[in-house]
Subunit: 179 residues, 2 copies
Amino acid sequence: MSDGHAKAIKSNLILDGKMLKVSVDDLILPNNQACQFEIVRHPGAAVIVPVDNQNRVTLVRQYRYVCDTWMLEVPAGKLDPGEEPEACAKRELLEETGLVAGKLEPLGIIYPTPGFCDEKLWLYLARELTQASQNLDADEILEVKTYTLENAVELALNGDIQDAKTVCALLRAAHCLKY
Amino acid sequence: MSDGHAKAIKSNLILDGKMLKVSVDDLILPNNQACQFEIVRHPGAAVIVPVDNQNRVTLVRQYRYVCDTWMLEVPAGKLDPGEEPEACAKRELLEETGLVAGKLEPLGIIYPTPGFCDEKLWLYLARELTQASQNLDADEILEVKTYTLENAVELALNGDIQDAKTVCALLRAAHCLKY
């Protein structure tokens, strides 16, 4: 059982949206239990920790409608159809912060909510940064903020940073930089 | 603008499910931009890092249908209606691992996916552990595994652990234990 997979019996598509596809699936689990799962499908996204040569990290303070709050996050954004995660990381970093990354180092992947959504995030450390122009989408509301990496790591560990991808990406980046 | 909030114009409920509520909302953002958002509402959950007095941590290897994969995670589970996060943490720890926590220390909260879902996770370090009996739900498929905290932290940092809440909770727990 411990390496088994589920068998999908029927998938009922409820929403085929701009960003999300939502379905209610009837399935047989690897323990032969029949059940119904509510499923969200998401295109995946790239997440970037931009750290300059003085170990300062650029974050974005962003309005999040569904939580009705402003959150401090690393730059990130959804993959366009067919887009490679690394290309997405460079594009989103430039759009949100105006930074161009000379070098991207992969920091592995994370699944934010494997209980109900297949969203997969590719994490990158961005180095060799140069400044160009920010270019936000109309529905993106964010402010660019700069922190020392030491301070950002402290905010991730003490709970002041509450966005999960930001906590994961900052702590993996600091580890990668042997910080 | 930087502390503004959105105005909801209309919310169209698409799914009122067992676990999730999905809607498509028409709204005015704090920058006065009209837009439509696909929204998932979730009851929230408690997340537990159980660490014994020899600094061994109990994890669960769990089948995740939506990603069709087995994942190494900390114990966690959804809040029942009206349930306090701390009560949920104790209940889920016992159900999934058979462990009873003599002491819970809060490790702050995280939002796994603030871009589209209001799910909020309350993280706890569980100490003073004693062993009782596991009691799984029929649709939960998991194996209990024990690691040294040092090894678990390494798996979170090097990318072998891919569940975001597990990465966040393990690294905050290790920081709290000055590990």
